[in-house]
Structure formats: C-alpha cells, structure tokens
Symmetry: C2
Subunit: 142 residues, 2 copies
DNA sequence: CTAATTCCTATCTGTTTACTCGGATTTATA
DNA sequence: TATAAATCCGAGTAAACAGATAGGAATTAG
C-alpha cells in the first residue's frame, strides 16, 4: 500500500514551489537540492505536473518553474492525481474508469476498497498547498 | 498507491471463511475456486494469516481453514495489517516504527501522509467481516 | 492403505520503479 | 553576439518486486 516516489517527491516539489509563490521562477536544481531528490528524475515529474496544468515553466537562463495557481487553489489531491493517476487501492475501485472484473457486481470486497478510497479522497481534497505552508510556519515559530 | 494481491486476495479469502463460519473447515482449493485465485499462491497468504492468528487450520483429509475468532471480532484492518504490514503510504509515516529520514522533524509532507494514513486506519478498523457478510446478504436479497 | 489436505521451501519470470544520460532548444545577461 | 544556465525530450538500465508455480514432506479421515 505504498505511494511511489512520484507522489512523494512531487508533493515535496510542489510544496517547495508554494513556499516561493509570488517570486521569480525556481530552478529544478535548487528544488532538487533543497528536497534531496535526484535532479534528473525530478525533471520528469515536473513534466507531468506541467502537462497537468499545475505548474508552468520559463525556459532559458534564470528560468525555472512556478505554480500556475495560488497555493490556496491547489490541493494535495490535485498533485497526487496528476502523478499517480486516479485514486484507488485496487483497479476495480478507482475513482475514474474502474476496471470491472467478471465478479464486479457481486463483489463485496470491492465495497470495502471503495470506502477506503473515499476516505482517502476526502482527506487529500481537503488539504491545500497553502495549508501546508501555514503548517510549516507554525513549526518554525515553535 | 495500489494494494498488492496479498491484501486483495487475502480479504476475499477471509470473507469467504466468514461466510462459512461455524461449519466444517474450508479447503484452500474451494476458496481458490470460488474467489478465482491461484491455489498455490493463496496457500502462502493463508500461512501468513495463520501466523498472525487470524485463522487456524486442520490438516489431513477433509481438513481446511477456519476463522480463529468470530467474524464480528475480525476487522479489515486486522487482515490488511497481517498481509501488508503496518499501515502507511510512505515509510516515514507508518503507524508503527516509522523510518525517520534526516529531514524527519522538519518535513511538512510527512504530516500530509500521516493524515491520509489516519483516515485509512479509521475506515479499515471500523469494518468487520460480519459487516461484509451483512452487506452481502443485502445484495442477494435485492 | 489411500486420497485429500496442509505445510514448507525454493525457484522463476515479467513488470515496474527509480534513476541516469546525452543532446537539442531557449533565453537572460555580460 | 557569445556564453552559461536552464528547460525539454527521448532512450536506456539495473535492481527490486509481484505474482505465480513447483515438488515433496507430513498429517489424517475413512
């Protein structure tokens, strides 16, 4: 039941961008260094996030990445869906286009997976990048 | 964010055993056939469930497996923990013995993973095998 | 004694993950 | 305009893992 590094690293990177929201674009290299991630690998994740419309990029010297919306308007769910695909612990209980096996209609375990999925969705859709930034500020104060 | 077949198949098997609770032991072969699972593979899962104390076995002809407690006293969480290990989407946010990286104390994303984990835990610990049986009865009636 | 069954351990194969690399393109600035 | 700093793009790879298979020993009801 583990998340891949896509989701893990991706949220770190998005949080990093959120902390710098409003300033100049942030380079891949600096994000990778701060967050302890392989730069080359992160590059691929940013491409996915860009395609999903969560970040935009500026090429060339002094270029980098920016959030394409305010931190308050990007949820953890947005990030995870972009990187990990539709939410769900099993293919027959994905939030979108569940893959129906032969036993689909009579399957009781499926109902369990759907309940778990819904609790995950409720949580990830309720946390924004801004929430995370505020949480971070609380920490450094104390 | 996918569950392995351990958890998937394991819960199916446990549900199957719950449906037959109170009767003679159920053979691996019959569970595998009803649930559409490889018999040999299921064997390994049952060994894990047995070691975890969730089922007991009777060897020899006409032997098989039985729940070691009443369906009302076994939760989905019990089954998943036995088969998948401590709950958590990332190693630094496991419910038991989280693996602390260097950034552990200052890591904000970790807090997110913990919230998701807690919502999963709340759900899986609130559903028992009996609940699943009742759900199944509802379905066949309608 | 026989057939049915669990128990135990080992092995295999395909897929996925996480990462690396090389080079093309863009662009701010000196 | 030259240069360095970036993003962009596609390919390749090693290790880990999932899922399954197999063979044979031990147990037991009939």
């Amino acid at each position: 039941m583990k998340l891949s590094t896509k989701g893990r690293y991706g949220l770190k990177a998005m949080y990093d961008l959120a902390l710098h929201y409003g300033n100049e674009p942030i380079s891949l290299k600096s994000i990778a260094q701060r967050q302890g991630i392989s730069e080359y690998y992160l590059e691929q994740l940013m491409a996915i996030l860009k395609k999903a419309g969560l970040v935009r990029s500026i090429r060339g010297a002094y270029g980098g990445y920016l959030l394409s919306r305010k931190p308050s308007e990007i949820t953890v769910g947005d990030v995870l869906r972009a990187l990990e695909g539709p939410i769900g612990l099993v293919d027959c209980a994905l939030e979108q286009e569940p893959i129906k096996c032969l036993r689909y209609d009579n399957c009781i375990t499926r109902i369990v997976w759907e309940k778990i999925r819904d609790s995950i969705i409720k949580t990830i859709d309720s946390i924004t990048l801004l929430d995370m930034c505020n949480e971070g500020r609380k920490k450094t104060k104390s």
